[in-house]
Symmetry: D2
Subunit: 183 residues, 4 copies
């Protein structure tokens, strides 16, 4: 039985529609309900809810607390998936990359452009991809979304087109090779 840590922080992927206000907000975690729609034999997903915030509202202290949770979990090393708002996901990912040394497994950040369970949502796709990527990628910190894998220091959000894009031509280091080219 393989273990994956799934750390939730909020973000669009977990937003819900509130009938009283007609707005979409981060209330309670809903990852578990959608995770249970996936078939994951031989996999033990250990979920940790750290906070439930729009990532534009995350503070430095919030990012530090995510880092501490990851550090704490990695005392028993296993792949990590982190669900996060897309607006500052890269910022949190870079913090993890810079502060965590000697990773034995990948850390995969993901999120969604439209909340889980809303028409045209990309949430379940991204969650599905992240769980698989966390088992296939070499150690490192990545964004996995829309069938793409980006080393966390090679990616930025293209807000206008609701997607992520490479910041520069893919480099040649180890993580980038894993994420991209073959022959």
């Amino acid at each position: 039985m393989q273990t994956i840590y799934l750390i939730t922080t909020g973000g669009t992927i977990e937003k819900v529609y509130q009938e009283q206000t007609g707005s979409v907000t981060n209330l309670d975690t809903k990852i578990g309900q959608y995770l249970s729609q996936l078939r994951l034999p031989g996999l033990s997903v250990k979920t940790v809810h750290t906070m439930n915030k729009d990532s534009l509202e995350m503070t430095d202290a919030d990012r530090e607390s995510v880092l501490r949770v990851v550090e704490q979990k990695l005392k028993r090393p296993a792949p990590v998936v982190i669900t996060h708002g897309t607006d500052t996901l890269v910022e949190t990912g870079l913090l993890l990359k810079n502060r965590l040394k000697g990773l034995k497994f990948p850390i995969v950040l993901t999120g969604a452009m439209t909340p889980l369970g809303f028409e045209k949502s990309d949430g379940l796709q991204n969650l599905t991809e992240s769980l698989l990527a966390a088992r296939l990628l070499p150690p490192g910190v990545y964004l996995v979304i829309h069938s793409q894998v980006f080393p966390i220091d090679r990616v930025r959000k293209d807000r206008k087109h609701s997607r992520f894009v490479w910041t520069t031509a893919p480099a040649t280091d180890e993580e980038t090779k894993a994420a991209t080219a073959r022959p």
Copy 2:
């Protein structure tokens, strides 16, 4: 823009409910309709429908024709995903493995236990995973299903539990390493 070839052969993943007979059969391809629910920026999925058969009804000639389609496509090398009935998926995969030499990209076979669009279906999960795996795995022939990656010569169907399992303890060759262990 990266290319992936998606070759469909039928199987449970594409079965539909027929109202006149109350049975579930392979009629027309429906992969395209579900594929369009995924966000795949920067990816060009070129779909080829070869046949639409329950894999228990596939003949040797059918498998040869799948092989020929793959060979023909690989004249312009790119990752390949093949949707296939689960009952003889391994058989077709082994044929591909034995007959295709010098692969430059992975060939990923997948399928489903319950048809796409039926309650509790694993079809979209497996399709999502296969498209990502086809971009991440090294050259070789694999089954990708239920967040698992199996080299095609290491797997068998456990029909009773509607899943696939390792035939032996994972070996140490190149494909198996890609599919499994890190530290």
Copy 3:
């Protein structure tokens, strides 16, 4: 709080896909799971599971047992909805019409052409309509399906087109008037 009795007998509406056999069969009731997707404030739906059969396999004894359940429930009169296979739904409905006298509320039979939860299913539509019709129609026995209301002695299944049709031009009696035209 208004009461409605919901009596289930099986039929396509409750069929499930069986992975081991690849067939669609009546196993356990699943109405409750879909009923819970509807908002029914002020309504108490009392569900009674009588059997879970393809209606082609229902015997005279089965129909008698449905009749007895209805009779028993109507000791405390309230509207009744019966979910039933469409192939012999009319037969059961006619038995109820002929044997139940002095109805104070309507009895609405319904079913589905495709099981609840399958792509393109009409099950939830028909269930939704039947619960409303049971509150609006005058006493009598009806089929409610596909936004149509038929007195049970005016309808037959058109199997080829997966729908129900009038057996004759709508008559002028009380039930037919309720089910059809105004000015």
Copy 4:
């Protein structure tokens, strides 16, 4: 072939999630896409899009324009369904009731607490119910929602509980009898 006029005005039922802003707004009509999920043999739904507004932003002039569309359509009398924001639905309905005389068919207003296509949405339920109610109710102006039928002058929104409730004990006039009582 029976005709129903379906007049859309916007409201929560037609709201969409906007990825760039993370808000839920009235952009384009989406009724047609969901209407096509229903089976409506023998029914011709003629859809008229009048506006696409949150009903809190509807002006007196907007309500007059809805009235004019209804008047214009009723030159060829048929049942009418109007989709509308729930916050001022009753206000528009009362205008229609007061200004339209000699109705030959019912006018059914409906809406939703959560947009069509969002998890836990009541939109398709309400649309399904309204189309049926429009064929069953006597002439008059009604709200149909959550398996309930209210004469438009007997109902108010209970915003806190996301539902509608009777304003007073049901009266004894013709519309109220149609909406409620049996023995």
